[in-house]
């Protein structure tokens, strides 16, 4: 078991455990923090896959911006575990069972796909480097890139519309 | 008019900001220039316990009840100082000198009790001026800190200067530079 395997398993277990903690923590702030842990482990996976750019963007965008906003909002609202009413117990169990079943279905369906013998290249391969991605992004994908700016504009206008006091 | 210490006297400039002012950066740099210039100025502070500044000639410190050269108290409890005190900080009780006490008190009457409330005292020096006997004068020391308000009511024991003969060193120290003036009289 090489260091890559060890890292993989470590990060996977960390990701799944923290994801489970996200949905089971009573306190929303804890959920946020666990989610940050999840994001970091996913970033770790990216690094293992040598997708450096995505790894760092993941940290900046998700951990650094999105989750800060979440934390911000939760803190502003001062939500504690007391203030979050729980769903009915059976409802929660039903939800969990449904999700589990979904997972089972997925796994059963996809365990014998035609690509199951393929390997994902770890540690090597340079497509994840910023230079290659950048080149591709600003040549082939320049139109979607510009389009995403429209998306941002609309989100910006939207946030103003919603957030501005009248 | 010399250099003003504050800008209080200056009229406020309400003209609209120029472009240079409106970007602030220049003003900030000007301000920083001012502060950096202070880096090279002489320091206003001294290493206090080691170094001390001399008091001014007219500094008025803690009160002292004087003795004459033989060690007799000058105060006759005439009460003029108490009358003169604008803060009404001084109280006293007079007593007759008994036979055999001549070496203690210069006159027939003396202050049996003499108290100054240092919390009220404003160190104006009027008591000193009022005293006909040069019995009270303001020294060059501060009133030290104390834990209770009571501690600031200085009794006679606290105020009377040490004996010039028996405790010569302490006397000299307490006397400071002020006694010179006394001597002239």
């Amino acid at each position: 078991m090489g260091i890559t395997q060890i890292l993989f398993w470590f990060l996977s277990i960390a990701a799944i455990f923290s994801a489970l903690m996200v949905i089971s923590s009573k306190n929303p702030v804890h959920s946020v923090l666990w989610l940050i842990v999840t994001f970091f482990s996913i970033s770790g996976h990216y690094i293992v896959l040598n997708a450096q750019f995505l790894a760092i963007v993941n940290v900046i965008v998700y951990a650094g911006a999105i989750m800060v906003l979440f934390l911000f909002v939760i803190m502003l609202m001062n939500l504690n575990k007391e203030s979050e009413p729980q769903k009915h117990k059976w409802l929660r169990i039903a939800g969990a069972v449904a999700g589990g079943c979904l997972l089972l279905v997925f796994v059963a369906a996809l365990k014998d796909t035609d690509i199951k013998h393929q390997q994902a290249l770890v540690n090597t391969g340079n497509i994840g480097l910023i230079k290659n991605l950048g080149k591709e992004l600003f040549t082939t994908y320049v139109v979607p890139f510009e389009i995403s700016s429209i998306l941002f504009l609309s989100a910006m206008v939207g946030a103003v519309v919603i957030g501005k006091k009248e | 008019m010399g250099k003003q210490l504050t800008n209080r006297g200056k009229e406020v400039d309400r003209s609209p900001m120029t472009f240079l002012e409106s970007i602030y950066l220049w003003n900030i740099i000007k301000g920083m220039g001012i502060t950096i210039s202070h880096l090279f100025k002489k320091k206003a502070t001294i290493n206090y316990p080691e170094q001390k500044r001399s008091f001014s000639k007219v500094f008025r410190g803690l009160h002292v009840l004087n003795r004459d050269a033989e060690g007799r108290e000058n105060c006759t409890a005439c009460g003029l100082c108490a009358v003169a005190c604008p803060a009404e900080a001084i109280t006293m009780e007079a007593a007759e000198r008994l036979p055999g006490e001549e070496h203690l008190y210069r006159e027939e009457k003396y202050a049996a009790k003499y108290e100054i409330n240092m919390l009220r005292c404003i160190f104006c020096g009027l008591c000193e001026e009022a005293c006909p006997k040069d019995a009270i004068y303001l020294s060059e020391t501060f009133a030290p800190a104390n834990y209770s308000r009571k501690g600031f009511i200085y009794k006679k024991e606290d105020l009377v200067i040490p004996h010039p003969i028996h405790e010569k060193e302490a006397y000299e120290k307490a006397r400071g530079g002020r006694v010179e003036i006394n001597k002239k009289d």
């Binding site: 997925f106 369906a109 996809l110 014998d112 796909t113 035609d114 690509i115 082939t140 994908y141 139109v143 979607p144 389009i147 995403s148 429209i150 998306l151 504009l153 609309s154 989100a155 206008v157 939207g158 103003v160 519309v161 919603i162 501005k164 009248e166 | -």
Partner: protein, 458 residues
């Protein structure tokens, strides 16, 4: 391409016009001018004049189908704006921003009608969705609007998640996002990955078009949103997503039709059933229209099911018929004080022209012949019929259409045959004229739809 770029530019212009301009009329006129310009350049492009030459690397292809749909969407938006733009003032203070958002949505619509890459589909759908979340919640003091917005947002984001998972699985199987390449299967039975991905995409797209059983957000959202925006989102946007739907399943999964057809059929049946049956029990016209839009979605889904020339033509026609009629009804509905059926009592006495045009719109929605609604439904049925072996679906759809007559006619009955005091805001004569023209167009299309469809071929 013309329309895509210009719509984005106009979105930005309108965004800033809110800061720079104070008069609402000017802003409104800019918006209307913008939509006219969009329409003009789009028609130019149909005639072969492309103003902006952009190499999209095959991700966006403006074929006739896309261009025609864009034209339809722009015309519908134009009508929508001249009918209802004034009423946006009542929603909130961000007047210019609403227009900006609408133009951004139009930009998304041009994308969803012309994508050849799943990436563009995803971006297009998001550009449509995000402004919609906001428009839904734009009536900030109204709790219903807030809740609708939140609900729409959470469920929309959830379905986006499903969609992305689908795209990821497809990417895993094919290694590309290009829809046409995805369709090129190697041999034998298709990979499980692609089937799973396709189903996830099917579910999420069904969600976006509010097909049952993914429809549950629709009534609440349509009901809660300010009526002006419900009008936009229930019509033009919905049609646009349908175009995306049919494009996706035609381009990317055409070969797999046998795999998904059953699912689509089930969705159609459920949608028609739930939409129509529930609409019958509504008391509010607005809510009824929400359910009816679900029901109409069921019909439009038949185009996806059949996936042949008739289906595509029919879907375009359906888009026109449905958009025009629904926009018209909503424009009238906005003027009403009371959204219940009883609110329409005696409407014909007070506003004969409004009542008459509304009747024509309702007849069109119900699919009564001589209206565009009939022909569009007819196209759908025909498209399914010629696939053969799906008679049961057609019969079911027909029965449901008959049920739909019940709730549409309730409005007509209230307007004409019942007496009451309808509270109506004063309407201008321009408004009436536009409604009359709109209903004339609907009838014209009901008699002679080729004036639209001929644009597809020449």
């Amino acid at each position: 391409m013309n329309a895509l770029i210009l719509s984005a530019i106009f979105g930005v212009i309108l965004m800033f016009s809110g800061i720079l301009l104070k008069q609402k009329a000017v802003i409104r006129n800019i918006a209307i001018a913008g939509i006219v310009l969009l329409l003009a350049v789009n028609i130019l492009e149909m005639c072969g004049t492309v103003l902006f030459h952009v190499n999209t690397h095959g991700m966006i292809v403006f074929d006739r189908f896309a261009l025609l749909f864009n034209t339809i969407a722009f015309v519908a938006t134009f009508i929508y704006l001249i009918l209802s733009a004034r009423d946006m003032e009542k929603v909130g203070v961000n007047y210019a921003e609403y227009f900006a958002l609408i133009f951004f949505i139009l930009c998304g619509i041009t994308l969803t009608s012309s994508f050849k890459s799943l990436l563009i589909l995803f971006l297009g759908i998001e550009i449509i969705s995000i402004p919609l979340y906001i428009l839904t919640g734009s009536d900030k003091r109204n709790l219903k609007s807030n809740e609708a917005s939140l609900k729409y947002f959470l469920l929309g984001a959830f379905s986006t998640g499903l969609m992305l998972m689908g795209i990821a699985l497809i990417y895993g199987a094919r290694g590309t996002f290009d829809t046409l390449s995805i369709n090129m299967l190697t041999e034998g039975k298709p990979s499980l990955l692609i089937i799973a991905g396709m189903l996830l995409l099917l579910f999420s797209m069904s969600f976006k078009v509010s097909a049952a059983p993914f429809h549950f957000w629709t009534p609440d959202v349509y009901d809660g949103a300010p009526t002006v925006f419900t009008s936009f989102m229930a019509t033009i946007v919905k049609a646009a997503v349908f175009i995306a739907f049919i494009r996706l399943f035609d381009d990317a999964f055409g070969v797999l039709q046998s795999q998904w057809q059953l699912f689509v059929a089930i969705i159609i049946v459920a949608t028609l059933f739930i939409g129509n049956i529930t609409a019958v029990f509504q008391q509010s016209v607005k809510r009824m229209l929400a359910y009816s839009s679900i029901a109409q979605a069921g019909f439009m889904m038949m185009a996806v099911f059949a996936m042949n020339t008739d289906a595509k033509e029919g879907l375009l026609l359906y888009a026109v018929a449905y958009c025009f009629a629904t926009i018209g009804i909503f424009a009238v509905l906005i003027k009403m004080k009371d959204y219940t059926f009883d609110g329409f009592n005696g409407f014909a006495k007070q506003q004969p022209i409004l009542a008459a045009t509304t009747t024509i719109f309702l007849l069109s929605l119900a699919g009564i012949p001589l209206t565009a609604g009939f022909l569009s439904k007819f196209y759908m049925l025909k498209a399914v019929m010629i696939t053969g072996q799906n008679l049961w679906l057609v019969i079911f759809a027909i029965l449901m259409a008959a049920i739909s007559v019940y709730y549409y006619f309730r409005v007509i009955q209230a307007m004409y045959f019942k007496t009451g005091d309808t509270q109506v805001v004063e309407v201008s004569s321009t408004f009436k004229w536009i409604l009359v023209i709109l209903s004339a167009v609907i009838i014209l299309l009901g008699i002679y739809p080729d004036i639209v469809l001929n644009w597809l071929y020449f």
